[in-house]
Amino acid sequence: MEIKRRDFLKILGLGLVGSITSANFLFRREVKAQSYIAPPEALKAKRWGMVIDIKKCVNAQPDCKLKCVEVCHKLHNVPSIPDKKKEIKWIWEDEYEHVFPEQPNEFVAKIYAHKPFILLCNQCANPPCVRVCPTQATFKREDGIVMMDYHRCIGCRFCMAACPFGARSFNWVDPRPYLAKVNPEYPTRTKGVVEKCTFCYERLAVGKIPACVESCPDKALIFGDLEDEHSEISKILKERFSIRRKAELGTDPSVFYLI
């Protein structure tokens, strides 16, 4: 039997089309219109930032007893581990001289000398922790929040070495036994991951401001969009003098201290 080259090619083409259609039919998956959306009530910004009004904060501390720390740690299931080497902290206090060690001054104003300052992750615009993370477990979101994805964290602690602010804590032990009470709406962490403040990304998604800001009875913490000229935070930063921790390192922190 003889077959022309032209006919052979035609048959080949038909066969190919036939097999593709039948394969499509056989292995067809359910066609779905799944999609993901950001909830409309979510708060949006180009760069989230925080201002801490030191005078208000220091003056109020005898009364408020650091409610911001308490509320944050309760909400995010942050354990209280007595061993200082293993402690976990998202927001905490330290005295002025430790917070701003590059500003030595033996005649420092009395209001600041040895007074506790509130500290948290600075959510740097140029975060060194993100640069060193080998798994991208920590990364910067479009709105400036330096996030943690605990699913990816391998516990190498490069980020802790890179962070000049000591804002990161490592889980040396299982944190669960150190949690007296638990918030069932938020996960805990597990042994072997690094954790830190995430500017309450889960609250921003439902239209709430961070818990520390909301809980402050004296409104010493102000949260907002640094790139929006009309936001409260931008206006305050234009009016009053503010300093940032270790700004000379070039990490461009998003947490400002009003002096």
């Binding site: 799944q34 909830p39 979510a42 479009e142 994805d149 949690l179 009470k181 069932p184 996960p187 439902v206």
Partner: protein, 128 residues
């Protein structure tokens, strides 16, 4: 073939002997795990078949969308909205991890480590 009258029945008996477990258990599926389904809610995020086959992929997508892409709401194939959360969406209906997740996972010897961080409802209830 020599001795076909003995060899062939012999082979048949041998085959029957080795396949005995199949014949003894035909029609009996006792070991299939039985999961406790939610009593009030009849419909999951997607269809039963989809969830059975794809729940692990769906959960993986969910965590990536929420944590990495800031997309907190899932629009299902039927056009319903769901807040993406293992603890606050999935486990609000599936109230018991041990009676739901673990049943199948233990059966197929799969141990995903979700629950070292995420808090199972029964664990939250019993917390000290």
């Amino acid at each position: 073939m020599y001795n076909a009258d003995k060899v062939i029945p012999g082979i048949i008996i041998l085959i029957l002997f080795f396949t005995l477990p199949i014949w003894l258990n035909v029609g009996r599926l006792e070991a299939v795990p039985e999961v406790e389904l939610p009593k009030e809610e009849k419909k999951c995020v997607e269809s039963k078949e989809f969830m059975r086959r794809e729940h692990m992929k769906l959960l993986d997508d969910w965590r990536i969308k929420v944590l990495r892409e800031n997309q907190h709401v899932y629009l299902s194939g039927e056009g319903k909205n769901f807040k993406i959360s293992l603890q606050n969406t999935c486990m609000k209906c599936h109230e018991n991890k041990e009676k739901f997740c673990d049943k199948c996972h233990n059966f197929v010897v799969t141990h995903p480590d979700c629950w070292t961080c995420h808090i199972a409802p029964e664990v939250a209830k019993k917390w000290k």
